[in-house]
C-alpha cells in the first residue's frame, strides 16, 4: 500500500523501541515544544561539551512519526560536533520540505532517510520535524544562552486560578 512509503519498517522499529528516551542529567538547556494541531509534545534536554553534543534526552508524546523521529534524531546527533549536527538538521529539513522529490543521502542521514516518504504528506512533516526543532532550539540555548531564540509566542494566559468549591 501507498502508506508503506511513510510507515517504513525502520520507523516502526524506532517507534516501538525508541533510543535515548527519558530525561537525563546533566544538561545545559531544556525546551518544551508542541504541535498544537495534533497535541504532540516533547520535552528535550541537551548537554554540550567542547563543541560536541554529549547527550540528548527527551520525554515525548505523539504519533509514531514524531516518536520515531525523536529516536532517530537523538541517535544521529549524539557524539557529533554541534556544527556537524546542525548541518544534519539542515539536510533533514530540506528532505522534509522536498514534497516527495528527494530521497536523502543515506551516508549522511542514516536512518533518517526513512522519513523521505513522510515529506509527501504535508500534514505529517511537522510531526517528523518536532524533535529536530526542539533539539535545534535547545542547542542554541546551550551554546549561547544569551543569544537564544525568544520564547515562542502564545505564552499562557494569566488567568486567575479556579477556586475549588
Amino acid at each position: 500500500m501507498k502508506l508503506d512509503s511513510m510507515y517504513q519498517e525502520i520507523i516502526l522499529d524506532h517507534y516501538r523501541n525508541p533510543l535515548h528516551r527519558g530525561l537525563r542529567d546533566p544538561f545545559d538547556a531544556e525546551v518544551h515544544h508542541v504541535n498544537p494541531t495534533c497535541g504532540d509534545e516533547v520535552t528535550l534536554r541537551v548537554k554540550v561539551a567542547d563543541g560536541v553534543v554529549e547527550d540528548v534526552s527527551y520525554e515525548s508524546e505523539g504519533c509514531s512519526i514524531s516518536q520515531a523521529s525523536a529516536s532517530v534524531m537523538s541517535d544521529l546527533v549524539i557524539g557529533k560536533k554541534v556544527d556537524e549536527a546542525l548541518e544534519l538538521e539542515r539536510e533533514f529539513l530540506a528532505l522534509m520540505q522536498s514534497r516527495g522529490t528527494a530521497e536523502g543521502n543515506e551516508d549522511v542521514l542514516e536512518d533518517a532517510v526513512a522519513f523521505a516518504g513522510v515529506s509527501k504528506y504535508p500534514a505529517r512533516v511537522k510531526c517528523a520535524l518536532l524533535s529536530w526543532m526542539a533539539w535545534k532550539d535547545a542547542t542554541a540555548k546551550a551554546v549561547d544562552p544569551a543569544a537564544a531564540a525568544p520564547a515562542p509566542v502564545g505564552a499562557p494566559l494569566d488567568v486567575p486560578e479556579q477556586e475549588k468549591p
Binding site: 497535541g39 505523539g62 505529517r124 494566559l157 468549591p165
Partner: protein, 440 residues
C-alpha cells in the same frame, strides 16, 4: 427529494419520510472518490458539513444576478442584494424560534459571535448606565464548563484578563457529562455571565441547559449558549432554551464558511455596547464622536459576508424542508448504531458518554494495539485516510478535555444528515485494519 423510503440505509429504521440515499444526491461531493478510486467516507462533519446543491446554486445565483453592496445604494441590484441578505435574517429567526428578526446578528462564525459578547462586556465599562447589566470587574465571575471548545473558553479567559474578573468552570464526570453536584457553589451571586456549550464537539454530550440556566437566572447572570454543534443537528427553540444569547456557525449546517449568527434577546441587544466599530453600525458621526445604530446593525460593522448570508438562507430552507426533527432522529439512529459497532472493536476507549442518551453524533475514541498500547490518533487518521475515510484527529480545539481524560488527543468520527450506517461499517472495518497494522 422523494419521501417514500424510511430507512437509514442497510436496514436501520429512520425517521418516517427521511431517505438518506436521496439526501446524499443533494451533495455532489459525496459522490467523488479519493486516492484514485475509493469512495469518500466523510465522517468529519463536526469540523465542517458538506454543502448541498441548493446552497451552491444560491451563492452562484447571487453573484450572477444580484451582486451589490447591501444597505446603501438605491439601485435595483442594491435593493435585491439587501432583500436577499435580510431575508436570511427572517429565515434564521424562524429556524431558531426567535420572535423578532432584530435579534439575529450576522457574524463571521461562532467564534466571532462569542467574542462579540465578551468584548461588549468589557466595553460596557466606558458606556452609559444603560449597559450596567454587562459591566464586569474584579470580584465578578465568569463561568464556563470544562468541555468548551477553545472558542468559548479563550475569549472568556481574555475577558477575565482585561477586567480582573475570575474565570470558573463546571467540571466533568468520567463519562463525559457535566458534574452538576456542586453547581450552586460554582455559579454564585458573583457570576456575571455563564457561557456553555450545548453539544460538545469532542464528547458529543448534549448538556442540560435548563438546569444551568435556572441557576444562572437565580443569581442574575447572563447566559450564553454555544450552539455550533447543536443548531445544525436538532430542532432549536431559543424561547424554550431560556438563554440570553445563542452563537452558531453556518458552515456546520450546510452553509458556506464565513457566516455565523449571534442571537440575543432584544432587550439585551438594545443596551449592549458594540464590539467592532465602522460603517453601517452608526447613527450619527461627527469628528468628536458617534452614536450607534439599533440592533442588529450596531453589531454588523462594515460590508458583511453577503453571499455567505444568502447561502445560509438557502441552507436553512434546505434543512427546514427536510425537517430538523427527522434529521435529528436519523442522526440519533446512526449514533446509536455507531456506538454499538465501535464496541465490537477490542480495547476501544470511548471518550464521552457511552450511550446515545443526551448525546449527539460526534464520537471520540482512543484505539489500542494488541499489546494494549494506545495508537496515536494521528496514525489512526492517516491509515483511515488511506481507505478514503475522513475523520478528525487531535485535541479538537478542546485541549482541557484531553487533559481531563489523560489523553494527548483523540480520533473523532462525526455524523450529519447524510451519514449512513454503511459508512460506520467502513469505519469499524478500517479500525480493525489499523489495529492489525500496529500490532504487527
Amino acid at each position: 427529494m422523494t419521501l417514500t423510503e424510511s430507512r437509514v440505509a442497510d436496514g436501520t429504521p429512520s425517521a418516517a419520510g427521511f431517505d438518506v440515499e436521496q439526501v446524499r444526491k443533494d451533495f455532489p461531493i459525496l459522490a467523488r472518490t479519493v486516492h484514485d478510486d475509493l469512495p469518500l467516507v466523510y465522517l468529519d462533519s463536526a469540523a465542517t458539513s458538506q454543502k448541498p446543491l441548493a446552497v451552491l446554486d444560491a451563492e452562484r445565483a447571487y453573484y450572477e444576478l444580484h451582486n451589490a453592496n447591501v444597505h446603501r445604494g438605491i439601485h435595483v441590484l442594491a435593493e435585491e442584494a439587501t432583500g436577499l441578505y435580510e431575508a436570511t435574517r427572517d429565515k434564521v429567526a424562524a429556524f431558531i424560534g426567535a420572535t423578532d428578526r432584530r435579534e439575529v446578528v450576522f457574524t463571521k462564525n461562532s467564534t466571532e459571535a462569542l467574542n462579540l459578547v465578551a468584548y461588549a462586556m468589557s466595553n460596557a465599562e466606558t458606556t452609559g448606565a444603560e449597559a450596567q447589566r454587562f459591566r464586569i470587574g474584579p470580584g465578578d465571575e465568569i463561568v464556563v464548563t470544562e468541555m468548551e471548545h477553545h472558542s468559548n473558553l479563550v475569549p472568556w479567559q481574555m475577558l477575565a484578563r482585561r477586567t480582573g474578573a475570575t474565570l470558573r468552570w463546571i467540571g466533568l464526570t468520567d463519562d463525559g457529562r457535566l458534574n452538576l453536584d456542586n453547581l450552586d457553589a460554582v455559579i454564585t451571586d458573583r457570576a456575571k455571565v455563564v457561557s456553555m456549550v450545548h453539544q460538545s464537539n469532542i464528547l458529543g454530550t448534549v448538556n442540560p441547559v435548563a438546569r444551568i440556566v435556572a441557576r444562572a437566572r437565580e443569581v442574575g447572570a447572563l447566559t450564553v449558549l454555544d450552539g455550533s454543534q447543536s443548531v445544525p443537528h436538532m430542532p432549536i427553540d431559543v424561547a424554550a432554551l431560556g438563554v440570553d444569547f445563542l452563537a452558531f456557525t453556518g458552515h456546520k449546517m450546510c452553509a458556506p464558511t464565513g457566516v455565523g449568527v449571534l442571537w440575543g434577546r432584544l432587550e439585551l441587544l438594545e443596551v449592549m455596547p458594540p464590539f467592532l466599530g465602522g460603517g453601517e453600525m452608526i447613527e450619527i458621526v461627527t469628528m468628536e464622536g458617534s452614536t450607534y445604530a439599533a440592533p442588529p446593525h450596531r453589531f454588523e460593522a462594515g460590508t458583511p459576508m453577503i453571499s455567505q448570508v444568502v447561502g445560509l438562507g438557502a441552507a436553512v430552507d434546505y434543512l427546514t424542508a427536510l425537517g430538523m426533527p427527522a434529521i435529528a432522529e436519523h442522526e440519533h439512529a446512526v449514533t446509536g448504531y455507531a456506538l454499538d459497532a465501535l464496541a465490537t472493536v477490542p480495547a476501544m476507549r470511548i471518550i464521552g458518554p457511552p450511550t446515545d442518551v443526551d448525546r449527539g453524533g460526534a464520537i471520540s475514541f482512543v484505539l489500542h494495539d494488541d499489546a494494549g498500547r494506545a495508537i496515536h490518533p494521528h496514525d489512526v487518521g492517516q491509515l483511515l485516510d488511506e481507505r478514503g475515510i475522513a475523520v478528525r484527529v487531535g485535541h479538537h480545539c478542546a485541549r482541557p478535555v484531553c487533559l481531563r481524560f489523560g489523553v494527548p488527543a483523540t480520533t473523532r468520527a462525526s455524523f450529519h444528515l447524510y451519514t449512513t450506517t454503511g459508512e460506520v461499517d467502513a469505519l469499524v472495518e478500517g479500525l480493525h485494519g489499523v489495529r492489525r497494522f500496529f500490532s504487527r
